[in-house]
């Protein structure tokens, strides 16, 4: 039986450059890379040396503090380079790819009938454990935990985000198998949130409780859904998995191989070919969008939560879109005049953008002002559909007050839930960054 989740507070941003509903194969990159920095707080321990041959599914490195957590190669080829930054911190593990992939064989398994322990160890040894993330803290899940439930969001509400329902359409068998596998990992339920208007193939998935979600962004954020379905309490763990990542896990059981297939939406007003591309995880951005000029920002992920990329850098491990928007490093004369510069969207109606609710905006990266003290109240609550006081929580993060953070619900939030607060707040406060700092403090102090 399915349940409805109606989100009322939030903001759906309409931007120019949505991807056309057409999937094409991306050209095969010469090099692929896994970036340890994509896995927050994880410290990699390398297994291979530069120049060694590997298959898709071979272990590249594992987590220093949790050896079960293995990170495997998305393609077959040769380990080309281990790129390090200051203090020898590893930032990229680059693989030179073979023309076609050969896979390490883990053996087929029927996830629905297999016993939980072998499902779990199969997921971990193949490197699929990395797809499972945990709340609280929004980091890769510790395999020794037992989660009270697993949450999957198949709803995309973020601006210009890839339409996950569309992506899953051709992969529904693998998706179903993945759900069966995840079911084995928790004594509780697997919750699958789907768009209320989505097609039957998603609503008919078995082995998971289906929730019909409707409403503005951040309705699609898994954190918001967890909050509505079964909120995280102090001391509890829940796991979350990206919807397409479930198909990778499913494929592992169906084929016995690690197919790191990702469908990525190339979007944004500055993108040339706004389409969906089939890639392998760790693809080089240059293969999709070429060299991007200086006045364009290349973002791995969406405009609210993504990472800034330079030319020839690799797409983030969890990201499902690549967004190109204009840089905003220009001065604006008398930009403080309200109701001028109406081409810039304003949720607080300080421009006349509210007159055109259906207009699609071409927004740039200008901060549109300077950082200031917190003055305006009420604007943050408007875009956070949770029973949480965002401004008070942010202040607790700034002051590093652990007890206050705990009381105000730090365990229930992730930086991405605060992305719209980054966007709307008058004081230009970096809410996502502050929440991340708060969570990091909790990890070291509480664990």
């Amino acid at each position: 039986m399915s349940k409805d989740i109606r989100i009322k507070r939030g903001l759906t941003l309409r931007l120019k450059g949505e991807a056309e509903k057409q999937i094409v194969n991306a050209p095969r990159s010469k090099t692929y890379a896994i970036k340890p920095t994509d896995f927050h707080t994880m410290i990699p321990k390398l297994v291979l040396k530069e120049g060694e041959k590997l298959l898709a599914g071979d272990v590249l490195f594992f987590s220093k503090y949790c050896e079960e957590l293995k990170f495997t190669s998305p393609v077959s080829g040769t380990l080309l380079e281990i790129k390090r930054a200051e203090k020898r911190k590893i930032i990229e593990v680059i693989i030179e790819s073979d023309p076609t992939d050969s896979y390490k064989n883990f053996g087929k398994m029927n996830a629905a009938t297999a016993d939980p322990d072998s499902v779990k160890s199969r997921i971990l040894e193949s490197g699929c454990g990395v797809f499972i993330r945990q709340r609280p803290y929004d980091v890769v899940a510790d395999p020794s935990d037992i989660p009270k439930a697993i949450f999957i969001s198949a709803v995309s509400t973020a601006p210009l985000a890839a339409d996950i329902g569309f992506i899953l359409k051709d992969k529904i068998a693998a998706f179903q198998e993945g759900i069966y596998a995840l079911q084995k990992l928790t004594p509780g339920k697997v919750h699958l949130s789907v768009d209320k208007s989505s097609a039957e193939y998603l609503k008919n998935i078995k082995g998971a409780e289906i929730h019909n979600v409707s409403g503005p962004h951040p309705a699609g954020n898994v954190g918001v859904q967890i909050h509505k379905i079964d909120p995280v309490n102090q001391g509890e763990r829940v796991w979350t998995v990206g919807a397409e990542d479930v198909t990778i896990i499913g494929n592992l059981f169906l084929t016995g191989e690690f197919h790191a297939d990702r469908t990525i939406a190339v979007t944004g007003s500055e993108a040339k070919d706004q389409k969906y591309y089939r890639i392998k995880i760790g693809e080089n951005s240059a293969d999709l969008v070429g060299q991007v000029p200086d006045n364009v920002r290349l973002i791995s992920g969406n405009v609210l939560t993504g990472d800034k990329l330079s030319n020839n850098q690799y797409i983030g491990f969890y990201h499902t879109s690549l967004t190109l928007i204009p840089e905003g490093n220009k001065y604006r004369m008398l930009g403080w005049m309200p109701f001028f510069y109406n081409n810039i969207h304003s949720n607080s109606r300080s421009s006349l953008s509210w007159l055109f609710p259906n207009k699609k905006y071409e927004l740039n990266t200008n901060l549109n002002g300077e950082e200031r003290a917190l003055v305006v109240t009420g604007e943050m609550e408007e875009v956070l559909p949770m029973d949480i006081f965002p401004m008070q929580l942010l202040k607790a993060c700034i002051t590093g007050n652990i007890e206050k953070m705990e009381n105000l619900g730090i365990y229930e939030v992730a930086p991405e839930d605060f992305a719209l607060i980054d966007y709307v707040n008058t004081s230009k406060l970096e809410a996502q960054y502050l929440i991340r700092t708060g969570l990091d403090l909790m990890i070291t102090e509480v664990g």
Partner: protein, 393 residues
């Protein structure tokens, strides 16, 4: 535009890091960012940002104040001239009022911004735009004949003690504009109350009377003004507080742009109406009451500074409550207390100033209990978790 920008960049150079005038950079930045929104781009967090910034917010409040301000100029002249001559021309009245108000605005901005700049340079932070609104509000809530040096002194007190002592914009507990008024009110009571200060020149020319409606009510005099006079604002009072209709026009802009909280405004008026209505019921309960308690509740809402206070002062987000529930309580109590002070305390014919200042002090307490409710809900949820799941984790 390019040409101006280039000139500015050139002028900016000595204020750069490690240069001769680095210390004065906040002052220069204030001017520079006033002319041009800077070319800063997002470095972490969301890559796109709303058009709103503090400058825009403050400008919206200033725009919302302008109708009431212009009316106040006209009314300032009209109240005086209509008592000494038969016909009053529009421009004549406006001119007289402007000649009184504009010097006050100049003094208020001059002194206030001077202090703000000095503090910014001294502390090495950017200048927050809060004073753009405060500086305009202060003259608007003063009596028309107040000497300029008193305005200046009130501003000094409000900015230094009311705001900068707490850490500047965003940190103050009391509304700075009301702090200025309260300072003047208690330091120079003869200039701030009575029946000789509300109409221009009333203290100099015997033929001019200047009693406000609340003043007449408190003294037991009959009220000579009609409902429409009170609603439109052709009555004596502080400079820009009289016209309820134009204040509501400003309120509309504040609410629409989400700068002012509609919850505070609405609950403020409700609170005042409820209190006044209770007083109106006294005769029915066998108590006699007086001319203030028997004054119709709906007219209570449109006289004195109540409307101006609720719309422009109570909604100041820094000194108000921050939570949604808290805003309802805070607004209601302001209206409720304002009318109560009016009626009970003849020494303060108008209660809105003290009601807002009092609730400013209590706002953090209200918020504390609202937030505590949320914390309790969260803790209860934790204790309700079934035991088997708890152990599983």
């Amino acid at each position: 535009m390019e040409w101006i920008r280039q000139k500015l960049d050139k002028f900016k150079e000595p204020f750069g890091k490690g240069k001769k005038l680095e210390k004065y950079a906040p002052a220069w930045n204030a001017i520079d960012t006033f002319l041009f929104t800077p070319n800063h781009t997002t470095q972490k967090g969301a890559h796109i940002r709303d058009a709103v910034d503090l400058k825009r917010v403050m400008m919206i409040v200033v725009i919302a104040l302008i109708p009431a301000l212009i009316f106040g100029m006209w009314n300032g002249g009209y109240q005086y001239l209509s008592q000494i001559q038969a016909e009053v021309g529009f421009w004549e009245a406006l001119g007289h009022g402007a000649s009184k108000i504009i010097p006050m605005i100049v003094v208020s901005y001059g002194v206030g911004l001077g202090i703000e700049f000095a503090f910014a340079i001294f502390r090495g932070h950017d200048i927050n735009e809060g004073y753009l609104v405060t500086g305009l509000l202060i003259p608007m809530i003063m009596p028309i004949d107040i000497p300029l040096w008193m305005v200046a002194l009130s501003v000094v007190f409000a900015v230094i003690i009311g705001k900068e002592a707490f850490g500047g914009t965003g940190m103050n507990i009391l509304n700075p504009a009301l702090t200025a008024r309260a300072f003047a009110f208690f330091a120079y009571p003869t200039y701030m109350s009575g029946n000789k200060v509300w109409v221009s020149e009333a203290s100099n020319i015997d033929a001019v009377s200047g009693e406000t409606i609340l003043g007449s009510l408190a003294a037991g005099h009959p009220v000579e003004y009609s409902f429409m006079d009170m609603f439109m604002g052709t009555i004596p009072g502080s400079l820009a507080e009289t016209s309820t209709i134009l204040i509501l026009l400003g309120a509309l802009l504040l609410v629409f742009t989400k700068v002012g909280s509609w919850r505070i405004i609405l609950s403020g008026f409700i609170g005042a109406a409820v209190m006044a209505f209770i007083f109106n019921l006294l005769p029915a309960m066998g108590l006699e009451g007086n001319s203030l308690t028997n004054f119709p509740w709906y007219e209570h809402l449109i006289i004195g500074g109540l409307a101006f206070g609720i719309v422009f002062m109570a909604t100041d987000p820094v000194s108000a409550t921050q939570t949604i529930k808290g805003k309802w309580i805070y607004g209601f109590l302001i209206g409720f207390l304002a009318v109560m002070i009016r009626v009970f305390n003849p020494a303060y014919p108008e209660g809105i100033m003290l009601a807002i200042l009092l609730m400013n002090v209590f706002a953090p307490v209200i918020d504390h209990y609202v937030i505590e409710g949320n914390v309790k809900r969260r803790k209860k949820r934790l204790s309700d978790v079934p035991v088997q799941i708890k152990t599983a984790v």
